[in-house]
């Protein structure tokens, strides 16, 4: 595992132009398929509660925002109940938040829509600027001090205007933020629970996705029949562990 992690980190470190002191040279592989026990590069589950990226004001804002994007309603839990804010928080303190895999060298230009993402901000910086700007804008509009303090209908109205580009955030392009927010919210609702969202697999249960099922052969030709098994995550499902 150490070897493999190092390889990946090395590539990214090299990309960031960091010194590579002490890194081993190329691996020469001859005579067999290399394999050693315990090298499997398993994912690291999110541990512990509480925010590590968002400050209290940002946390209140993001919780209120995602609660409108995927609301709790008669169909069941929404984004907050699924843990989406914690999911986004942990993504933003990790590789994703740093844009570690992205090409982040200048010069910076805005270009055509078909040329894609062109801002110099990392996702962490995008959220930092956007959440502050949302609260500032709401405060200036005067209905409430912050987004979280607006009523649901006003919150929806604000988000609709954000989506349509009718309010302009400062320090970050509105569309860049909104697209990222919506995408990350879906990710937090439907990714494996090890990443902190999709708590109790509520996202999967809502739609009938069985999760990390390994063998669907018995069901391939069961035309029109409901899938009989409950969803399962990479760490199993709640019923597997007794507390």
């Amino acid at each position: 595992m150490a070897k493999r992690k190092l390889s990946r980190r090395r590539l990214l470190a090299a990309a960031a132009g960091l010194p590579l002191a002490g890194a081993a040279s190329a691996q020469v592989i001859r005579g067999d398929m290399p394999w050693r026990e315990g090298e499997a590069d398993a994912p690291t589950p999110v541990q512990g509660g509480g925010y590590k990226f968002f400050n209290p004001a940002e946390a209140a804002c993001i919780e209120a925002v995602v609660a409108r994007l995927i609301p709790r309603d008669e169909l069941g839990p929404g984004a907050v109940e699924a843990g989406v804010p914690i999911f986004i928080d942990r993504q933003l303190i990790g590789e994703f938040g740093r844009g570690a895999r992205w090409y982040m060298q200048g010069p910076w230009g805005s270009g055509e829509k078909t040329q894609g993402y062109q801002t110099r901000l990392t996702p962490a910086a995008v959220y930092r600027a956007a959440l502050k700007s949302i609260d500032d804008l709401v405060g200036r509009e005067g209905k409430a001090a912050t987004f979280a303090k607006l009523g649901p209908a006003d919150q929806d109205d604000f988000l609709h205007r954000l989506e349509k580009g009718q309010v302009q955030l400062s320090g970050v392009e509105t569309k860049t933020f909104f697209d990222m927010l919506l995408q990350n919210t879906m990710e937090g609702f439907w990714s494996d629970p090890i990443y902190g969202g999709n708590r109790d697999m509520v996202g999967w249960k809502l739609i009938g996705f069985p999760g990390a099922r390994y063998d669907n052969r018995p069901f391939v030709t069961q035309y029109g029949k409901p899938y009989p098994l409950p969803p399962v995550g990479l760490m199993g499902r709640p019923a597997w562990s007794r507390s």
């Binding site: 398993a42 894609g116 996202g203 035309y223």
Partner: protein, 588 residues
């Protein structure tokens, strides 16, 4: 200063699908072969075992198996009047990195091109007249025929254990297969995959309209298989984490599951990972590549001399290395002169969502190439008179596994969030499916690859610049076959459908396909092509360029069957002709 290393017989640059094929073939010929791969070693038990392989976030959305753009990317623009900007995040296509290349996370849809595809210019000209090909459409014949490639297609299909049903056995049309395909010498090595409900519904509807649907040829195993090298693959479990994922179950053909267990044991083969080739050192007077310069993980430079060099780094890196090394004349879209970067092409896709009220489809049951297909509107399988375009594509329902972050379709007019959205997603997820079209892109004078004047990689070298857009030909063709797909969708009697035409300019953001082609195309002479029919460079006789790099234009099928057939065709020529008398195999 680069450290100079002892010479080898053969140096392979890049160790994905084509690198592994050439490694296996040329070590069989007794040569001493060294492969250099920029990424790390990668294999099933350590990188994507069944205990954590089914992870949509990590592998697809966080791109863990794909090229990290921080290290190297390319710049994109739709035409020469725009300033190209870097592809900062992955989107439209997903180049691979690490051992096995993109072959680790491909779908396994394994096609042969049509016999007429190899004669794109002459065939269309003779059937529809010279005017059918607009002046700026720079399509060419390949210089190799279907019949010449047939044994090599067959070899790849048996290596991989392709599951499918022949449609044309030595000229006799077979019920249940693709009636339009070229003749094949024998059946597929494995029967088709078991079909789930959606492809079955698609096929019924297609048949009701007079089509001949058939199972998508699949590199997913329909049963246990031992390939001709003695390597064993297991039956596919339809887990739905296949396309964009590694297979935890040894059920999808890749270099790892078909070749490496044999090749890695050979005493005359060596692999160096984390070794990135930054330049081929070219002796223009001798018309030879003398060595390659590469950088290892610690940043040290090495010079590796070789008698022969196989460029197998994927089309985008193949073309960039040729440009950075000054091998061959760069293409100039103004004059139409030059060959390196010429005729870059892609794929044009569209889809139709189909929503039922009464059918539970369990769309998460799937595999990368699990589905049914209609080929009536591909290539020249139909009369194009009066249609205003040439070429075509296939129409199919491929159930690749509806992983929910990527796939949660909603009907026309549904908001993108909120309670109404949530309701629509919950109501439709299990009861919807999608029909895809997968179309050809003809080459065009203004679509090409060169070096970017502004943007640099981590070593300070210019990035590749891609100038590409769909032309009228592609849009007309794609709209036409999308309408045919919608007819099939309606014949399924759903509650409603949603037709998603491919509108406007090529956009780098949404994923389409990793079927980039051209840039160092094959052909009959050095004026119009970069490599000859054996994939040998016209400018360096000991340099062979693999991959879809060679395609003069991109037919309506996924490329890898043909990429592999060309690789075997080239390996045969190296073994049977080149080694006997090293030099140009075709005289200009």
């Amino acid at each position: 200063m680069a450290t100079r290393l002892p010479p080898v017989d053969v140096l392979i640059v890049g160790f994905g699908w084509t690198g592994a094929i050439l490694g296996q073939e040329l070590t069989d010929a007794g040569l001493n072969v060294l492969a250099l791969e920029r990424g790390a070693w990668r294999d099933t038990p350590i990188d994507f075992p069944p205990t954590f392989d089914q992870d949509e976030l990590r592998y697809y959305w966080r791109h863990e198996l794909f090229e990290p753009l921080a290290h190297e990317t390319l710049t994109v623009r739709n035409n020469v009047s725009e300033t190209a900007l870097p592809m900062r995040r992955l989107g439209s296509f997903l180049p691979g990195i690490n051992v096995g290349g993109a072959g680790v996370h491909w779908n396994g849809q394994t096609w042969r091109f049509l016999p007429s595809d190899f004669l794109a210019r002459s065939h269309n000209q003779s059937r529809y007249g010279a005017k059918a090909i607009p002046p700026d459409m720079t399509i060419q014949d390949w210089g190799v025929t279907y019949d010449e490639l047939e044994p090599h297609y067959d070899k790849f299909e048996y290596l991989c254990g392709i599951s499918g049903k022949a449609g044309n056995l030595q000229g006799a049309i077979q019920p249940g297969g693709n009636p339009f395909e070229g003749p094949r010498r024998r059946e597929y090595p494995n029967p088709p995959l078991a079909m789930s409900y959606p492809p079955t519904l698609f096929a019924e509807a297609a048949r009701s309209l007079g089509h001949s649907p058939f199972p998508q040829p699949a590199a997913n195993m329909s049963r246990p298989y031992v390939n001709p090298l003695g390597v064993q693959l297991g039956p596919c479990t339809y887990c739905g984490f296949c396309e964009k994922f590694g297979c935890g179950n040894y059920s999808k053909a890749s270099a790892q599951t078909t070749i490496l267990p044999v090749l890695m044991k050979k005493p005359n083969f060596t692999l160096r990972t984390e070794s990135e080739v930054i330049k081929l050192n070219y002796d223009a007077a001798a018309k030879r590549v003398v060595s390659a310069t590469y950088v290892d993980a610690s940043g040290q430079e090495f010079e590796q001399p070789a008698e022969m060099v196989i460029l197998a780094a994927y089309i985008l890196h193949n073309v960039r290395l040729l440009l950075l090394s000054g091998i061959g004349q760069p293409y100039d879209p103004q004059s139409g002169q030059g060959v390196i970067g010429k005729n870059y092409a892609y794929q044009i896709t569209s889809s139709v969502n189909v929503f039922f009220d009464d059918k539970v489809l369990n769309p998460f049951i799937g595999a990368g190439a699990h589905g049914m297909v209609v080929d009536k509107y591909n290539g020249d399988n139909f009369d194009h008179s009066g249609l205003g375009f040439i070429g075509g594509g296939y129409i199919g329902n491929i159930q690749t596994g509806a992983r929910p972050i990527e796939t949660h379709p909603t009907p026309e007019g549904t908001p993108k969030w909120g309670s109404a959205w949530k309701k629509a997603v919950a109501a439709n997820y299990l009861k919807s499916m999608s029909i895809a079209t997968h179309g050809a892109v003809m080459s065009h004078r203004g679509n090409y690859l060169d070096l970017d004047p502004t943007y640099r990689d981590v070593y300070g070298r210019p990035l590749l610049r891609m100038t590409f857009d769909f032309t009228d030909n592609e849009h007309r063709m794609s709209d036409y076959i999308t309408d045919r797909a919608a007819e099939i969708a309606r014949a399924m009697n759903p509650r409603e459908i949603k037709v998603n035409y491919r509108k406007g300019s090529w956009d780098v953001v949404p994923y389409q396909t990793t079927h980039n082609t051209g840039g160092a195309i094959m052909g009959k002479d050095p004026k119009s092509s970069a490599i000859n029919r054996y994939l040998q460079s016209w400018d360096a006789h000991n340099l062979f360029v693999m991959g879809s790099t060679a395609f003069p234009q991109n037919p309506g099928y996924n490329p890898t069957g043909t990429v592999a057939a060309l690789a075997y065709f080239s390996a045969d020529a190296i073994k049977n002709q080149y080694l006997k008398s090293p030099g140009f195999l075709v005289h200009a």
